[in-house]
């Protein structure tokens, strides 16, 4: 336990530089993007003078490092400032948008695991069988499937042809849970295809490795049934693999939602950051990046803690 705490401490001390780096990199990247938000803000009534005025009033004429420093200073005081585009506090926007994306990602993750784990186990316990071939082929297909294409097909089929699901938008989970799930179903499904494939592939290969190990062969020789070996030894050992997969998957799903949200016109954080990035709405981009980095880091931390609990040797390394 001592080691675990120390590991958590070490990881926490690494978070600050990672956050600083990530936000700085993004801030720097946006600086390189030509054009600026003053033009958007000036809109139809743009004049050169007006654009210069707006630039000044938003502090966009200050040097890059000054802008970053002032953002950082405010962020340290938990003030993520306001969107240039909508004048809405960034924190409000994030708190408003993230649940939508997280619902989809969460749902996709659950589907990936619920479908992927049994399939992975089935395939691993009968390697080389017809079932195994079918499952692995399906997994290869899932990995190669462009998820936004799948999203399009799902919309065309289940939303437009059959009208079983809504084609667009989202509903807050707190507002109407059943409607929220109905809205999230197709996007989550589009994301989950890749997720299921990933879980199946990783789980299958990890299980096969364990089941073919000397140790398990000895157990089998002692007369233990495959099922009990699987439950008692295989899955416990494989849970570490599964944790890794979950970590990878969440990161990947968060990324994939960007395009899938575009297909379903879901006001999630993906569309938020894409729109903000295109318009150089710094405060929003920075806020969302910060939130994403924090989520990913916290998740990784959680996974590392779980690793040490499942396998104490990891922590000592």
């Amino acid at each position: 336990m001592h080691g675990t705490l120390r590991m958590i401490g070490r990881r926490l001390s690494q978070i600050i530089p990672v956050i600083l780096l990530a936000t700085f990199v993004v801030f720097g990247l946006l600086q390189l993007v030509p054009g600026d938000i003053a033009v958007t803000l000036a809109g139809d009534n743009a004049t050169d003078v007006r654009i210069a005025q707006i630039r000044q009033s938003y502090g966009l004429d200050r040097p890059f490092l000054v802008q970053y420093a002032s953002w950082l200073w405010n962020a340290m005081h938990l003030d993520l400032s306001r969107s240039y585009l909508s004048n809405e506090p960034v924190l409000d926007q994030i708190l408003h948008r993230f649940p939508t994306s997280l619902l989809i990602v969460g749902l996709a993750l659950v589907v990936s695991l619920v479908v992927g784990i049994p399939l992975g186990i089935l395939a691993a316990t009968r390697p080389g069988s017809r079932l195994d071939t079918a499952v692995t082929s399906f997994a290869s297909l899932g990995v190669a499937l462009p998820n936004f294409w799948l999203a399009m097909i799902l919309v065309a089929t289940f939303a437009l042809s059959y009208n079983w699901f809504p084609a667009t938008g989202s509903v807050a989970l707190g507002k109407d849970p059943s409607k929220a799930l109905l809205h999230a179903a197709l996007p989550a499904l589009a994301l989950a295809a890749g997720g299921v494939a990933e879980v199946v592939r990783q789980l299958r290969s990890a299980l096969i490795e364990i089941l073919s190990s000397q140790y398990v062969r000895t157990l089998r020789a002692k007369g233990l049934s495959s099922a009990s070996i699987l439950w008692k030894h295989g899955l416990k050992n494989v849970s570490v693999t599964l944790l890794t997969v979950i970590g990878l998957l969440v990161n990947r799903l968060l990324g994939a939602t960007v395009v899938v949200e575009a297909v379903f016109a879901i006001p999630g954080m993906g569309s938020l950051i894409v729109n903000a990035a295109i318009h150089k709405d710094f405060p929003v981009v920075q806020g969302v990046v910060l939130a994403m980095v924090v989520i990913v880091i916290c998740l990784n931390l959680l996974i590392d803690v779980l690793y040490t609990i499942l396998d104490p040797r990891v922590g000592l390394k």
């Binding site: 050169d48 297909v263 295109i278």
Partner: protein, 529 residues
Amino acid sequence: MKSNDQKKVAASMGNWIGLDRRGFLALLGGLPALSGTLSGSALAQGTPHKGGILRVSAPANPSSLDPATGGAGSDHVFLYTMFDTLVAYDYASLQPIPGLAESWSFPDPTTFVLNIRPGVLFHDGTQCDAAAVKFNLDRNRSGERSNIRPDLETVTDVTVSGPNQVTLKLSQPDTALPLILSDRAGMMCSPMAVQERGKDHDRNPVGAGPWKFVSWANAEKIVVTRNEQYWRPGRPYLDGVELSIITEINTGLRSVIAGQNDFIYFLSPQQKQVIDRAKGLTAVSGPTLYCVQLYLNWGRPPFNDVRVRQAMNYAVDREEFNKATMNGLSEPAVLTLPAAHWAHDKALDNAYPYDPDKARRLLAEAGYKDGIDINMIGYTDQRSQQRQEVLIEQYKKAGIRLHFTNGSLAEMSAAFLSERKGDGFLSAWTGRPDPSLTYQLLFGAGAYYNPSRVEAVPEIGPALRATRAAEDIESRKKAFAVLQRLVTDNALVVPLLFQFEMDAHNAKVKGYRPNLLGKPKFEDVYLEG
């Protein structure tokens, strides 16, 4: 083949010209002839009644809900629900009609008097009187955060000349003002709210329009609810409007097909097929001021040569372009104003027939025997890319090779208009209530939408001023004809087509009429069933 096409163009042009505006609208909107007055809409089916909430799919998040601080042309649909304008406009022809101002007059060319309708209340219960109007006009023309100062450039002073009268002093004759006051500049906000809320008024506005602001979930939804104290008797019909922001128009239309929304606007004419195929949806369309066009930078080669600019106009097959990109459902454009507009000069309609050979000859005369490479600026969205693909193919036939550099709207506008990158720009002109603004902003010396910042020919300046000095509509028409001739002969722009407003709604929605500005208003809409 070619002559056939030309015939087709001529025939369709004939159609445009042949119909009078009302008949034209009626044909397109499936509506009976409209009187164009406020009482209007004595519609055939059913009688208007109160109640219900209209769910609208809107294509863009507003830049701000304060009329003075926002900038996007797409904001108006939101603003109209909450703000009434001093001057209103006739849906069909865009001529000015009374709004919050009962009447107005020009006692002399540089004095403009507005008589404010008595007894109108803002949503917060304060009076919309002459003092409030003065507050708004002063804020709009000189406020620090005002984005519409150029609109009221000619106003030098606003005085309250009676409890319900304001008098504007002008630096020069400006007969464009009434229609300017039908736009943002004429939208009245509660002075108390503006003062109390400061910047927050952008997101929490108070006007005197038919509906009151309820909530704005950014890029997601805006909700407004009935203003019980609205000054027009019996209006509005709708208890409220919920505008869901769905930026992808195909997705937005899908939401109406799937029954999540009742109404969608700013569709592409190509989507008519989709609407027609969907059960229970009605397509509504009508011409608008929205002009898809190629901006040209005439300040430097190659477009400083009038022959090259004319070649650009001859080499494009507008009928084909309309067919390919709009399913033939828009109005091919030669001028910057559509045929239905009161200031449109019909004499110029055949100025640039499709003639790639003539384009080649003009280019050869200008010294480009082997054709010419043009660097164009454009946008990345699918519709823009489709237009680019069509234009690249068409211009290729006249030896004009277009090369596009694309980006987001803000980035590319700045690139072409401010940073002077590229020779031309495939974009659009969204139109202004008064046409003099359109011409001023596009062709005036120093205008932002004129990247050269200089007049192409010296006659432009006087012609522009003449359009704002003439007082009655007929003499203004003549002034615009002169200006339009100048712009067309010098080929300062390549107008391609006027996009038709394409809206769709389900069977519940009644009484909706499009307007020439192309920015829907819901004041006459009611729900049935």
